[in-house]
Symmetry: C2
Subunit: 438 residues, 2 copies
């Protein structure tokens, strides 16, 4: 279940809510700068934003998780090394180019860290780099060096909103979530499945807290929380080469209750993960699949993923078509391929609270069909309209509501459960990724 059930009637209403979420924890400042450059591989003018997140003093208490893609970006290679460093003092993020398998990519990433560190009076290994954008292109290192002083001079305490906006690319809106715990807080921002011109979606998440949590506990909690939040979503089954979640504590506020901190961290991560799906490319319906009574958590999560990644079911949802045959197909595809001995005879499935499958057969009739269509329409974020120029795009830049297409699967042969979020497959997704040339 979601921790919030928000609705927004306008961009202004959403921005006012964001501003209230955005108060920075003690001990952090953020700054951004934007500049023009020309990529080497496809020479036409482009813009890049640098976002800087700085601690007032370096901290030993930080945690991070990175993509498992076998071709990780250079900042991921550098970031994994940073996990062994005694302290971290800043994060430097660029958009537009992801610096993945580009010639000299790691050296460029280290050079940017070193210059950021020099300007901030830190050691070079106290800066964590992040990049997102086109895969395969090379970073404009000199242009970045030239822009760094402006990012540093713009550093300000107070609000994380400039950073939430700085890392956004074609996301429709910035994403900020917070939890207040004891006398401190946990604030997270995410750059989701937006595209930098039509290229690979990258998820970047930065979570800041002023609560004092030692490194070991911080890393253990992040690892536990990730599985049920960012590892439980899929927009299109593609795994970015740049995915990063970083968590930093300034240690300014003593933490009396680690359990409360972990619950707050879980809330922030789960809500941000849901935001990433809600603002996924072309997503018009968020699909929440709750799988229970499974033999293992792994199987429960895999079944949820199989459903939210089944293209035919995703298209049906986009069309407000309760084609539940495609849903059951997706379950059967996964079980048949990966767990063929599983007993499926007790499986029950419902959509929007309407039972659609039990005792090995579908439970359908015209009245249920009408109710299912109403459920799908109620979860639609916006209606699709054929555009004059042939390129579909979203007519909103705020999340109108947090309702989901609610699917419940009771496998009927075990104690485990998992909840997975995904989106539908729409003309807006295809336009975003096929109709624009990079």
């Amino acid at each position: 279940m979601p921790s919030t059930n928000l609705t927004f009637s306008s961009r202004e209403a959403h921005r006012a809510w964001l501003a209230a979420q955005a108060a920075l924890p003690a001990g952090f400042r953020v700054g951004t700068t934007r500049f023009d450059f020309v990529p080497r591989e496809a020479p036409k003018p482009a813009k890049m934003t640098l976002t800087l997140i700085a601690l007032d003093r370096p901290t030993a208490d930080f945690a991070a998780a990175f993509t498992k893609n076998a071709f990780p970006g250079a900042p991921i290679v550098v970031g994994r090394k940073r996990l062994n460093e005694p302290a971290l003092g800043a994060i430097i993020v660029n958009n537009k180019i992801s610096n993945v398998c580009a010639p000299g990519g790691v050296e460029t990433s280290e050079r940017i860290c070193a210059e950021t560190a020099r300007l901030l009076g830190l050691g070079a290994t106290q800066v964590l780099p992040s990049s997102t954008g086109v895969i395969g292109w090379t970073l404009p290192a000199d242009a970045i060096m030239g822009a760094l002083p402006q990012a540093v001079s713009s550093l300000a305490a107070g609000s994380i909103l400039p950073a939430a906006e700085g890392i956004v690319t074609t996301d429709l809106y910035p994403k900020i979530r917070r939890a207040d715990v004891g006398g401190g807080c946990i604030v997270g921002i995410a750059k989701g499945a937006g595209m930098i011109e039509p290229n690979l979606a990258t998820m970047l998440v930065y979570i800041l807290t002023d609560l004092a949590i030692p490194r070991g506990e911080l890393r253990a909690m992040l690892a536990r929380v990730l599985d049920a939040s960012f590892n439980a979503i899929s927009i299109d089954s593609d795994t970015s080469t740049s995915d990063t979640v970083a968590l930093l504590s300034s240690g300014r506020v003593p933490c009396e209750d680690f359990g409360a901190f972990e619950r707050g961290l879980h809330t922030v991560c789960r809500d941000l993960a849901e935001d990433v799906v809600r603002n996924g490319e072309g997503v018009r319906h968020v699909i929440r699949v709750s799988v229970s009574e499974a033999a293992s958590t792994g199987l429960a999560r895999a079944l949820g993923k199989a459903i939210v990644n089944a293209p035919l079911f995703k298209c049906a949802v986009a069309g407000n078509d309760p084609n539940v045959g495609r849903l059951v197909q997706a379950i059967g595809k996964h079980i048949g391929a990966f767990a063929p001995k599983t007993d499926m005879s007790k499986l029950r499935a419902s959509m929007g609270g309407v039972e659609i499958f039990a005792n090995g057969v579908f439970q359908l009739n015209p009245e249920k069909e009408t109710a299912l269509v109403a459920h799908l329409r109620g979860a639609e974020l916006y209606a699709s309209a054929p555009p004059k120029d042939g390129v579909f795009s979203a007519p909103v830049d705020f999340p109108p509501h947090e309702r989901c297409v609610e699917i419940a699967i009771e496998v009927g042969n075990g104690p485990a459960s998992a909840t997975v979020f995904g989106g539908d497959l729409t003309h807006e997704y295809v336009s975003e990724n096929a109709d624009y040339r990079s």
Copy 2:
């Protein structure tokens, strides 16, 4: 490499070629009939076609493979039992409703077999049933019973074309492939289009031969041929609940050379599999991925599947956008998730003969970009055009050519190879599956 490199300038040219492929092997007749009915679950008028394939006398020499989906259709349940029967005399196929997990589905399927058998003077277990279409709905048993006599009276030798046309659903055109072996022949037909990532078989494929091959050899050959044909394609990663490949020999022509027969069978299966992709729902580019120097055939095929199933790469291909970063992402996604210890440092990749990745870094420049765009445009089956009513559809009902987007991956650490076929992800796919209500 394909066995053919055909081009067709019009529907008429394609139909003339099909007619030449369609000559039935000795000992077979086909018949069809079409009728109106109203589905129980969604009461609005619909049409169904029955297709009957009959042997002049029952044969012991038949083979079949079925879907591995854990929710198989009722005809699959019945068909698996038929494999143990001493002889088969006919196949009865309906489209529109797939009879999957519908109440009383198996009983209805057996009842249709029994009536078909009665009309043909066969035993009830000598008829193999097949159904394709909407999952979850119930077959109109009485309407089918009423239509069967017309299907029987339309049986004719000569051409398989009526059957190839009778089994289609969203296919744009019928699919027939043949191989002439010794004094006999092998003729196959396929119904494809959507929910296509077969797992040990494909949607509906019927292969007829007059060459005498004993049951044991026939089944062994079919099993061998499937892996490199129907199990090497994916249109949308979804696995149908009704996949069936059936192979029947009338035994009218002595077979002197089993090796030649198996090669002919392989050609027919591979060409039909490629046809199924070429006529996949919304497919505007066929993508052929040749993976070599892999540690195992399984890994080679899995990497090919990872590429042809990566939504972002599929969208880029649809837009003639050589976004090779998405291609490498797809390889890295699979290796990172399933074979993380694999050495990727020697991997080389090319598209259309243009090297794009080697020595751990991309090999890109503006001239290569131009060449890659030209390759993609050359492989496009038809150009997409925004429709007035917002529903995208293909402007052709024949395959204009057999050119593919050619991708070669040399993993660089083993002796195994595999070739996989897939399609792009287009507005036409979304329209087919979201804009029309089934």
